[in-house]
Symmetry: C2
Subunit: 232 residues, 2 copies
Amino acid sequence: MKKSSDLAVALVSGGMDSLVTAAVACDSHTHVAFLHLNYGQNTERKELEAFHNIADFYHIPHNFRKVIDVTFLKQIGGSSLTDTTIKVKDFKGESSEIPDSYVPFRNTHLCAMAVSWSEVISAKKIYIGAVYEDSSGYPDCRPSYYAALNKLIKEGTKKGDIEVLTPVINLKKKEIVLKAIELKAPLHLSWSCYSNNDMACGICDSCALRLRGFQQAGIPDPLPYKVRPSYP
Amino acid sequence: MKKSSDLAVALVSGGMDSLVTAAVACDSHTHVAFLHLNYGQNTERKELEAFHNIADFYHIPHNFRKVIDVTFLKQIGGSSLTDTTIKVKDFKGESSEIPDSYVPFRNTHLCAMAVSWSEVISAKKIYIGAVYEDSSGYPDCRPSYYAALNKLIKEGTKKGDIEVLTPVINLKKKEIVLKAIELKAPLHLSWSCYSNNDMACGICDSCALRLRGFQQAGIPDPLPYKVRPSYP
């Protein structure tokens, strides 16, 4: 594919979905800027390491990398309801139904950062590794959400010429692994595990989902694991 | 007007537009939560003081007030281009055309905070004091931007039942003053001045715009000023 001679921004968490998304961006544009959001999760140390390792692999200069602290999201999110202790008799908060990891409207915050940065550095495309299949029903992972977001960007930016792209939104984990292989993406540098160890645990939900994807793709995961479950 | 028995969120910067917007919210709902964003401007000390004074006036309990630090916007915004020093030969950054105060897509960040918080505390309406007339052409102050934002909220939240309202978007400063009088809003507690003094300067753009609004409304501004220009 011929690369278009322009600048794109890729949101790179360090996980496999964002790795493949970044690989698509680097395959399609001459210049890509990498954006990483630190929202205070336990695994941030490993994810930031993965972010820089992936950026090194793609020769992204350091002034094309940006790490933004978005720990304020914790303060807003469902998990902080206990701190704010707002009690309104007639209004039932939804905290009990929302998992701790869920931050309402989160992808809008992340994409808004990318849009603001893109406008400053004149990038026209933004790549985000949202996956609808594995989204557990999060509304801000749906294709229709991104269609609405792109309309908002048209209305809310100076030139209205920035677009968010979601190249893996309709892929299953198996297809994401195959796409990584096709694009020679450095799978060994990505980090999916929810535990905060130096070696992936192999048993958390995220490890299990990843390992199953590799297994279904018929490809060995290059990452070392503490425990490597076998799938029937 | 009969108040609807529910909870709304009002974005309150402390300025006159947000004061009147908060007054409309308090006039329309039994419970209102106040949200203030600190994005590191010089006048934050005075604006935060105004925020709490206005919240006290409307008897907003402290657990219904939230102040979020959004100083990361400075890091992204046009004004920080000199720090990131991204230089791409073929791509001209637009920093030279953007005033320092301009943060691209800013209102999306602010509204996203309000939406996230609203989902957590089950508020259904969000009030923001965006004004199209005085927006200096900022794209994220246009009515069409808020229409697109409301579509995004429908797509990107759990129930899709949160709506952003902009009660002063089509008003001129004179009409905002008259609306404040009509609603008995505490104009003496709002803060518009761009200078970081204990008394409003009376000569900065923001003071001039405000004073002209009062003059056109035929009403004296209750705030003391260092200098009070007279308008012909």
